[in-house]
Assembly symmetry: none
Homo-oligomer: 237 residues x 2
DNA sequence: CGGAACTGTCATGAAACTGTCACACCTGCA
DNA sequence: TGCAGGTGTGACAGTTTCATGACAGTTCCG
């Protein structure tokens, strides 16, 4: 897997907790960036894009959840996994956090070990490979730099919306999304669109993937939405 | 959460150490499975999924670290916490062990007391509720992220209602619910439905679980309702 | 200006899903 | 043994959900 040490950004206003986390992560061989508030966090991210972000829910000024929303809006940061540190436990918070784009939660108080476990779990889940601008899934390659799609060398043409949709799906492979979530993430926010619109774009994307015989990578989750899953060849072990 | 005794799989080639560990764990009221090498370990895991694995770093044949990688690759096993037993002390080994998906490690020589403490710590942190969106019960995995159900890797198709029903049951395993309670929890409120409707959905869910031969996980509680209980394999019947 | 590409919405039919029923079956009890 | 209430099972019709093709409005170019 990735032989380089992952970089973790810790956004937390309480110095004691921040230092504790920093110590634990450092011991585990991770690069650590520290930030005391959202402002510092943004600066830090701009300087060096972290592989994962640990973020306190409650912070002076811009809250963790608000910062998450902002990060999710920018292409440069939207794919960074975020783990929320929170004292809250209610279902509502959980839901709104997940909607905002959080990948996991750790509820205070937590042990350094638990934190490490979560970080590893999230990274194992969301790090497909080393990221040089390409996302690869069973021969389907999406190049975020040239903004092109190809399958086993053969170029595939997709429209702008289909491209964004595919990019979102491929960088969150395996995960099921409702139509509402897809509208939030793939279309610019604040635009109200019919949910059926998603269906049509899925259809167009499938059509584009059809010549490569991989349209089934886009799976329908009945009663819910869609999911991208590039199934490996069904071969016995 | 699980009040039942945890099952611990010990993978260790040195008989003396293995016996010592087995004795200590048994005294602490834990179920113990033993394996002398990776091969035996895989067989044992297939027979009964352990709640945690103690694994020697150095073993003849497939090493502990390699076995860890393999286990992390399979959905059925990827969530089992692993504690590595090692004589090595260098930083490098420590890091690569963690990267491979190990949850903790104990350096030889160690005391039974230390071992138990580590086991309890790891289990405490990896059990809490929706671990990483997966609910696992004896090989039956419900993934709330991808919204899929599978048994020992084999996907299982269930309809939307059956999915919600199973999710509810699995996150309240062992508990018996009346038909009325199930209607309240699984169906959206304010809908009046015939109580027998529950029976039919139970039936459909059982049918879906039938190919995996685990339809008996859904038990009938006569005169009351139903209960989900994934029983470990009973030897003979 | 004109065409090509793209976008959002809609109508339609097929497929999946849902709730209900009738009847078979099973269990405990008189 | 027969009865009575509870549960399993298959069938069915109504409903919901989704795939698909069409269409009109837009934008983006030459």
């Amino acid at each position: 897997m990735s032989s380089v040490e992952p970089t973790v950004l810790v956004v937390e206003d309480e110095t004691a907790i921040r230092d504790m986390i920093a110590f634990a992560l450092d011991r585990a061989g991770m690069q650590v960036q520290l930030a005391g508030d959202a402002q510092e966090a943004l600066v830090s991210i701009n300087k060096k894009r972290p592989d994962i972000i640990l973020m306190d829910w409650m912070m002076p000024g811009v809250s963790g959840i608000e910062l998450t929303r902002r990060l999710r809006r920018e292409p440069y940061t939207e794919d960074i996994p975020i783990i929320m540190l929170t004292a809250r436990v209610s279902e509502d918070d959980k839901v709104s956090g997940l909607e905002a784009g959080t990948d996991d939660y750790v509820i205070k108080p937590f042990s350094p070990r638990e934190l490490l476990a979560r970080i590893r779990a999230v990274m194992r889940r969301s790090t497909p490979a080393d990221n040089n601008g390409q996302i690869n899934a069973e021969g389907l390659v999406l190049d975020t730099i040239s903004r092109r799609v190809s399958h086993q060398g053969e170029p595939i043409h997709v429209g702008p919306t289909e491209y964004r949709l595919l990019e979102f799906f491929m960088s969150h492979a395996g995960r099921a999304y409702s139509r509402g979530q897809l509208l939030d993430h793939v279309w610019s926010a604040n635009t109200y669109l019919e949910e059926r619109t998603v269906d049509v774009h899925i259809r167009r994307l499938r059509k584009a993937l059809e010549p490569a015989r991989i349209s089934h990578y886009l799976q329908t989750v009945r009663g819910h939405g869609y999911r991208f899953l590039a199934e490996p060849r069904t071969a016995a072990k």
